[in-house]
Amino acid sequence: MNPILFYILSAVLSGLVLFGLSMQSKVKSAVSGNLVCVGVMCFAILLTLVNANAVFNWKLWAAMAVGAVISLIWAKKVKMIEMPQTVALLNGIGGLASALVGSIELVSSNSTVFADITAALALVIGAVTFSGSLVAALKLARIFDSRPSKLPGHSTISILLLALCLIGVALAAFGFRIASLIICTVCALLFGWLFALRVGGADMPVAISLLNSLSGVAGALAGMATANVLLVAVSGIVGSSGLLLTQIMCRAMNRRLMDILLGKTVAIGKTAEKQTDITAESSVKITVPEEEPIEQSPAFSLKNAKNIIIVPGYGMALSQAQHKVKELCSRLEANGASVRFAIHPVAGRMPGHMNVLLAEADIDYEQLYELESINDDFKGCDVVIVVGANDVMNPAAREAEGTPIYGMPILNVDEAPEVIICNYDLRPGYAGVENPLYSRSQGLRLLLGDAKESLEILIGEL
C-alpha cells in the first residue's frame, strides 16, 4: 500500500477513536462511542494485514480468533463485583502482548538502533505492566492479602532492578540483543511484582490507573519499534487517559503519586499509638446511642425523612449489598422521600467502582452525585445512610493534622442532623485514622455487622 494513503487512513482512524471517546463522556451516547472504537479496531486490523500483505495468513487469523473467543466467553460470565480484578487482569494481558512484540523486534536482526531501544523499552514497560497488574488483580480478587507488604530492602532491590532494566536497554542499543532480552525480561517482571506488592487496598485505584497508563506507553513503544503510526497514536491516547485518571485519584486522596509508589501508605509509627488511646476513649461514647429509647429505632427517623443521602463505600462492594441498597431506596421513595447517592471519587477499589455497582442494581445514574455537587447538601438533608464507607467521610481529614488523610477532600456526612451507619465494625478504615463521627453523641445510629443484613433490618422495620 502507498505509505501516504496508510498515513491518511491512520490519521482518520485515530481521529475516530478520539471521537468515540468523546461520545463516552455522556451516558446516552457512551454505548455508541464504544461501538465506534470497536469499528476502528476492526478496520485497523484489516488495514495492517493489507499493508503487510498478510490478509490470507491463516495463522494470524487463527491466533486472533483464539484470543477473541476465549475473552468473549469470559466477558459474558464476568460479574460486576469482579470488575476491578477483571480490569487489572485485562490490563496485564495487554502489557504482556506489548512485551512480546517488543521481544520479537528486539531479537530480529535487521533493525535500526532506535527500533532496538524502543523494542527493549516496550519489553521492559510491558513486563512491568504485566506482573504489576497480575499482583494487583490477585490482591483485588482477595487471593493475595490486600495490605501493602514490604520485603526487607524493598526500595534498594527495586532501584537495583530498575537500574538493571536500564542497562538491559543500553545493551540493546549496542547490539547485545539476547543479553538485553534476558536482563530486561527478568528484571522488569520482578520490578513490577515488587511494585504492586507494596500498594495497599485503598491505594489500588491509583495503582490500576497508573498500570493502565503504562500499558498504553508499552503499546506506543511497540509501535515505535515496528514503525506503525496508528499503533503509536492509539496507544498514546491510552497512556494519557491512564495518566489523567491517576492524577484525579491522587488528588481525591490528597496523596502524592511518589508516596504511593514508594509504599508510604500509612504512617504506622506515631499515629498508631495515638489511635489506641482514642479507641479506648471512644468505645465508651459509642455505647451512648444504644442506650436511647427503643421506640426511636433507626427506621423511625427514616419514615419521617424527606431528604435522604446514601453514602456507599467499599464495604458495600464487599458484602454485595447494592441490591439491598436499591430495595431500601425504593422503599424510601415510595414513602415520598427523595434519595440521592453521594459518591467519593476514591470510594471502592477502582475509579468509578461505586457507580458501576449501583448501576448494576438498577439505580438511576441521575441519582448519583459527585463529591463537589452534593457536599453542600449534607447540612440540609434529614438523614444520611452510610453503607460500608469510612475514610471518605472521616472528619479527621479536616482537623487532624499529621494523619495520612489530613487534607483529603471528604463527604461532609458529619454536617447531617441524623446519620445511620451500616458498617462492619468501628475500626479505623484503610488509612488507619480513628473516625470521630463514630463517637458523636447525637443523631447517630450504628448498625454494625454485614451491611446486607443491616440493610435488611432497616428495610424490615420500614
Binding site: L72, V87, G94, S98, A222, G236, I237, M350
Partner: protein, 108 residues
C-alpha cells in the same frame, strides 16, 4: 518502500511527535468523561491498548520463516485480542447497564 518512518532521523522524530500529539489530544478529550463513567472508560482503554495486536500482526507477517519469533508473534496476537474483545465486551456490558433506564423510557 520509500517509507519516511524507516528513515534513521525522521522516522523516530515523526513517531515521537505522533505519540505526543495523540497523548495531548486524548488528554483533552478524556478530561470531559465524568467520574460516573470512569470504570467503563478504564476497561475501554484496556480494549484500546489491545491495539498492540497491530504490532503482533506485523511481526508475525514478517517473521514467518523464523519459528520462535512466529510463535511469539502469534501468542502476542492472541493475547492482544483477549484484550480487544474482552475489553470492548466488558465495557459494552457496563455502559448498557448505565443506559438501561434510557432505553426503557424510549420503548415506552
Amino acid at each position: 518502500m520509500n517509507n519516511i518512518l524507516l528513515h534513521p532521523v525522521w522516522g523516530p522524530l515523526v513517531l515521537i511527535g505522533v505519540f505526543a500529539a495523540a497523548s495531548i489530544l486524548g488528554y483533552m478529550i478524556i478530561k470531559k468523561v465524568p467520574s460516573l463513567l470512569h470504570t467503563p472508560l478504564m476497561s475501554g482503554m484496556n480494549a484500546l491498548s489491545g491495539i498492540t495486536v497491530l504490532g503482533a500482526l506485523i511481526a508475525g507477517a514478517t517473521s514467518s520463516n523464523m519459528i520462535p519469533s512466529l510463535i511469539l508473534a502469534l501468542a502476542a496476537a492472541a493475547l492482544a485480542m483477549v484484550n480487544v474483545a474482552g475489553g470492548f465486551a466488558v465495557t459494552h456490558k457496563m455502559l448498557r447497564m448505565f443506559s438501561k433506564k434510557d432505553k426503557e423510557d424510549a420503548q415506552e
